[in-house]
């Protein structure tokens, strides 16, 4: 894969901070550039650090691409394996995250194609179809309500996944870790190599942006 060459002599760019209007903070932990360099050298701890850093985000992207939960974890696992196997081909290590997410999307597409090839309709694999099918097979009112609820949850999940994915790059991983995994701030900052104060600002900003993006679902004046 050909990506633009990174200048190894230059420190990682701080542009995202400036663009977001966030105070520039000194970051302590290793950047993707450093971790990818170590991973290329075969250092197992670097692979694990990258995994912890992006597994929540990769899961979201897998779900977003598949449109349902089923197989999302397999896709996420396979995406990491594929990325790790080919990490030597990544020219611009600073673009690791974008590269990983692109691989995730491709693995998800392969997963869907395989499923289609195996005779499973893509529509049928969706949560709506599951809910409809459950509704058709059950008589009880409670069951119907549950099936409908699952479909609504699935749609909501899709919208949230989309909203997180559409955040500016530096907010995606913190938001994914916070809302998907409920990871405490300190742990998120450790995984991302960010100072806690920087991380806290990013979480707050991500929260504001998400509330704005999802305003139609949860108007501020309404009780949820």
């Amino acid at each position: 894969m050909s990506t633009p060459k990174a200048d190894a002599n230059q420190p990682p760019a701080q542009i995202p901070h400036l663009l977001s209007g966030e105070d520039v903070d000194v970051e302590d932990g290793p950047t993707d550039l450093i971790l990818v360099g170590r991973a290329k050298a075969g250092e197992p701890s670097a692979f694990e650090a990258l995994l912890l850093r992006y597994k929540a985000l990769v899961s979201l992207v897998a779900y977003r691409q598949l449109g349902h939960d089923e197989g999302a974890e397999d896709v996420a696992q396979d995406a990491f394996v594929k990325a790790f196997l080919h990490i030597g081909e990544l020219d611009d290590a600073a673009r690791f995250k974008a590269w990983l997410l692109r691989i995730t999307a491709n693995v998800a597409l392969d997963h869907l194609r395989k499923k289609k090839h195996d005779g499973v309709s893509l529509d049928q694999s969706g949560a709506y179809a599951a809910a409809e099918s459950a509704a058709a097979q059950t008589i009880g009112r409670g069951d119907l309500r549950e099936a409908g609820g699952q479909a609504i949850d699935s749609e909501l999940r899709g919208q949230i996944a989309e909203a997180i994915y559409s955040l500016p790059e530096e907010y995606q991983a913190p938001a994914a870790m916070r809302y998907l995994e409920e990871v405490p701030y300190r742990e998120i900052s450790r995984r991302l190599g960010l100072r806690e104060e920087t991380l806290r600002k990013r979480i707050h900003r991500a929260n504001q942006m998400l509330r704005r993006k999802l305003r139609k679902l949860w108007p501020e004046g309404e009780e949820l």
Binding site: K55, D78, L156, Y185, W218, E223, L224
Partner: protein, 306 residues
């Protein structure tokens, strides 16, 4: 506490990131401020709903362990596939062993691949057996076939020649200049040609050591900047005129790739005690210091006695 201060900390309160004192101060403020209390309720429910809705997407506890296990398995599988791709179908199976038993037998395997990527499937070179060769074998995709006299060599076909022990044989590239690579090895050697590389695959039963010497031959205006050996993924820079030793493990444990970055024809020649020679007349893409004079082409390969 002011409303602004309170609102700056509400998300931290929802995320349970405040100390006891901070939490108490915030809660005290909210008992008096309806608007901050309402915002707190909204933030709390927003966060709770987000977390609850995304919960099915949480990865399993041993997600990292599973990925690393799959990664290790895939690495092994990838290596296995690469190794099997390196092995020739006939390696060690249909070959007579007399050249090795004789101790000084020389086998030349010349593999000619598509000289230009995406080129036509038509034959791209003609090979003529010279007096030095006792046998020339061609790989037709299913097995090794003896070549009688002149033979057309097509894309992807392989040609090998078994030489009389102790003799030096050279594949002459005609009037073209080129490199002379001296190879002294107990191994059976396969030489593959791709558009820019010549690969020497050790196929011997016993571990051995290649001794390669790269020198200029023929036209003096031929210019070569560097030759690089890639063996077991380690790269060795070879200086012109100097003999370089490369340790070889048995049976395709690795390959030696001679990357000729700038050059036209290449001649492999042997030194004591065994001699191997092969050459290619087709020019590789011209770059840098490579003389334009070398661009010319003969596509006719012929074996000649040295």
């Amino acid at each position: 506490m002011t409303c602004d201060e309170c609102r700056g900390l509400l998300q931290d309160l929802v995320d349970a990131e405040l100390s006891g004192a901070e939490r108490s101060a915030l809660e005290a403020h909210m008992t008096k401020c309806v608007e901050c209390a309402r915002l707190h309720r909204h933030l709390a429910k927003f966060t709770t709903t987000m977390v609850k809705t995304l919960q099915p997407l949480r990865t399993s506890e041993d997600f990292a362990g599973k990925v690393m296990a799959k990664f290790e398995d895939s690495k092994v599988e990838l290596l296995r596939v690469r190794e099997s791709q390196k092995k020739t179908p006939a390696a060690g199976k249909t070959w007579p062993v007399w050249p090795f038993a004789a101790g000084s037998g020389v086998i030349i395997l010349v593999a000619l691949y598509t000289l230009f990527s995406g080129g036509p499937a038509d034959p791209v070179a003609t090979l003529t057996k010279g007096r030095g060769a006792t046998r020339i074998m061609a790989w037709d995709g299913k097995g090794w076939q003896e070549v009688k006299g002149a033979s057309q060599v097509g894309n992807g076909q392989r040609v090998e020649a078994v030489e009389t022990p102790g003799e030096t044989v050279e594949l002459d590239c005609g009037p073209e200049a080129g490199l002379k690579i001296t190879l002294r090895s107990p191994c059976k050697v396969q030489i593959e040609r791709t558009s820019r590389q010549i690969r020497l695959l050790p196929l011997a039963d016993a571990p051995g050591r290649f001794f390669l010497r790269v020198t200029r031959t023929g036209r003096k205006d031929f210019s070569l900047k560097s030759v690089q050996l890639a063996f077991n993924r380690a790269k060795v820079q070879v200086a012109l005129g100097e003999e370089t030793a490369v340790d070889v493990e048995p049976h395709a444990a690795g390959d030696v790739t001679v990357s000729v970055r700038q050059g036209a024809a290449v001649i492999f020649n042997s030194s004591e005690p065994e001699s191997v020679a092969a050459g290619f007349a087709r020019n590789v893409p011209q770059t840098g210091a490579c003389s334009p004079a070398v661009q010319a082409k003969p596509e006719v390969f012929s074996w000649v006695e040295k």
